[in-house]
Symmetry: C2
Subunit: 137 residues, 2 copies
């Protein structure tokens, strides 16, 4: 368990400090993406700036990816092991307008778009809004 955490960090060349272990633990437990303010609430006492920088480090090293779901706060979720965050790796995200949870639809990759000529593509953000399976019961 703890070993898993450390090896994941090592695999992405991130020094396994106590803080980072804790944050990764939280992220691993999560089934949905989490925002910085939400992450803050998971800890009794934790510094926003430290958590912020931890997430940034994770993102830079492609351990997590960020999702702008339009709620006003950026959310983060673990990348798949193989993920390089290239356009080909991109999947669709789903925001439930009822519970405000954001899901990675890992199995649904972002469809191809034929851009007008002389527009070049770097990345795509695709967020579907609706009601999730939990809330639609």
């Amino acid at each position: 368990m703890q070993k898993d955490i450390d090896s994941k960090l090592n695999a992405k060349n991130i020094k396994p400090t106590a803080m980072r272990q804790l944050v990764l633990q939280v992220l691993t437990k999560q089934s949905t993406a989490i925002s910085l303010p939400e992450l803050e609430n998971k800890f009794e006492k934790a510094d926003k700036a430290t958590l912020y920088r931890t997430l940034k480090t994770f993102e830079k090293n492609k351990l997590i990816h960020s999702i702008d779901d339009g709620t006003g706060s950026i959310k983060y979720a673990l990348c798949k092991d193989s993920c390089e965050c290239h356009p080909d790796d991109l999947h669709v995200h789903f925001l439930c307008t009822h519970c405000n949870q954001t899901y990675c639809l890992n199995d649904i990759s972002v469809p191809n778009i034929n851009l007008p000529s002389s527009f070049s593509l770097e990345s795509v953000n695709m967020v579907v809004k609706g009601i999730c399976s939990v809330c639609s019961k």
Copy 2:
């Protein structure tokens, strides 16, 4: 010209005040989407709150639609006359990472997504990032 502005406002049941005429004029001239701070800069002296509420009114009455392109400020662009902002009306947006302009790709509608069972769809936000035709010259 001025007649056009007023009839557009009337068509969407928006009382044509001086402020609203001015804002709609700016929006009409724009070929790309514009944010509240950007809109502010188009005027010598204008109140942020008033512009904010003007945009909200326009949006509520489906004269404009909002785009969250991930830059941190929401942008607004005119709707097509027939637009009802339903999922079927949705088009792809393009953010140029060089000039920071956001384009409505009106001709490119958002592709259909097959959501997992018991997920329901309300709307979709799809933003493609890359280099626009102006900047790629």
